[in-house]
Amino acid sequence: MSLLIIQILAASMLLATPLLLAAIGELVVEKSGVINLGVEGMMLIGGLAGFIALYQLQTSICTLELDGVCFASDNSVNQLQYIGALLIAALVGAATAAVFGFLTQHFRANHIAAGLGLTVLGAGLSNSLGGNFFGVDYTAAIVAKVPALFPASWTAVPVLGPLVFGQNLLVPFSFVMLVAVWFFLSHTRAGLVVRAVGENHHSAYALGYPVILVRMLTIMFGGAMAGLAGAFIVIAQIAPKWTEGITVGKGWLALALILFATWRPGRVLLGAYIFGIVLALEPRLKAIFSNMSLELSYFLTALPYIVPVVVLVLISRNPVMIRRNAPASLGQAFEPRS
């Protein structure tokens, strides 16, 4: 039984990490007064970029070659190649977010319209590019598994093995980023500027802070984190293959997390792991009720989307709590007064 609990915990860490990464990024974006609903789109594009990068970077040795065409190959990936792919995913995510930033900050487009557009179009674009990107069909491509950080003998250690040593590089990274963002927002001068811009952009502008520049930077940071989250889902969770619409709404879960957390980093962590446990329970509940018919199992598949709705309803019933922490200028277009 305790083995099952450890399995669930290890799996929920794996599943919570992309939510946490994307939510940390979006938290900073919203703290600066911008609401970017394009998280899902940026995750899809970043995920595809990470997959393509890893496919190109991985060491591939052909084991079966006929007439110059390779039929079977031995692929392997080391940590350095993995980090390279993650960097590319983050850069592509930031570039995608920059488009949103230009539209909303420089061309004063509606945040919600631009964000929704980014999501819908990111989904369409990643589907068509994944099917044929410069002549390669990535739905048929296979990448090697990313190795664990620690040697295999360490992973065999009970409890600590699967929970700590067996985890992917990005799991500890997500914790580091959470602490870093918390420290940045609440204990640094630059973080104070970000919050000032988010609370009242006119006052911040009058004090001489570059409102648009600050927001562009936070938007691009959010995009980079969403790109990382997408790449993590593709490379570490669902590997070795890429499929269309691979994030299945995780970007929206990240947005729901911000509301759940009422813009506080500590509660983002709590929420991410609650959602992570629900996501991890779903296949295991199916295994426990293995005699359950296929059609009923679809209700378990819907569980990770029903739970956030219930959680949001419970949290939203107290409007004071939401208003107390919400950035006052959230979602408002900034038009400098002259």
């Binding site: 539209l103 819908v120 989904a123 598949t301 029903i306």
Partner: protein
Amino acid sequence: MIRLVPRSHFGVWSTVFPLLIALGLTVVVGFVVLLAMSEQPLSDIWTLLTYPWQARTASVQWGFVLQKTSYLAVIAVGLSIGFRANVWNIGAEGQFAFGSIAAFAGYLLCGMPDTVWFLPVMLAFGVAGGVLWALIPAALRVIANTNELLTSLMLVYVAANVLNYVTTGPWKGDPKAGQAESDPIHQSLQIVSIIERTDLHWGVVISGGAIVALALVVLFTIFGYSLRVAQNTPRAQRFAGFSPNMTIWLSFIISGAMAGLAGAIYLSAETGKLIQSENYLNGLGFTAIVIAFLGRLHPFGIVAAAFLISYVNVGATYVQSASGVDDAVADLVQVTALFAVLGTAFLSRYRVVFGAQAILGERTA
């Protein structure tokens, strides 16, 4: 120096001018994309733009364009009602699915009638299904103050799983089929084509009627006026005696009804049966969001945008299969069009002033 000066006069020109710029930008970017991707860009561009005219099966192509236009426009016009009033229903895909499910349920409940006269009842069941599914986020918003944007989106995934449940469980049809699907509805209830062997069917006419009716409501009734007030000056809405909660209810009911109608028509005209969600839902409800914004939330604009996007899609699909250009072209054109329209919208509120006038300010402008 470039400066933006708020417009004091709003006319037809201030609306049309940004759209012309957006259209120009889209055409330029589309050209560049095709130049980069294609080996014979000029002939490909020509084919893409004229394919529905010159194809040997022109009526088939036009049927396809109009059919796609009708689905996108009917959902998008419904969504635009809420979007105007800052009520964000982005779960039209789920309401579309539930419309199909409800239409099929109505068909079974009434004992599988085999007369075409039952079709309006079946469509009404579809509308009711879409409304029912849309009422969940509306109720959560009004009662529990829950963000309707996120809940309506989450319910898309739930609806997709309900569709999977009914097609693998209670309504499972032929077990030898390669996919989970229900038995087909009776032949007489499957909407027929207006022109033989094309996709131009009577469902397109029904959608068109719904769009016209809704456009009249938005443009010429007190309710439509109240929505426009809510859009432009949210506080005035309250003073004028329009309740924000009523706006939320009506926005969701109307958008759910339109998506549900589209779902019922889709069931009757395209597939004739329910199929597992991966093979049944193809993102119409999500594309419609983009169409709504492309049309600047105006009924005429939405129909025009839906038509243009469907037209380009048909051409792009052909060019892709004929000369091996990525089908990403159509998506890239959509991306560019949306971002160009959103990015130039500010031109309807501001004038761009260049040179010395910009520095000296409005006194000289």
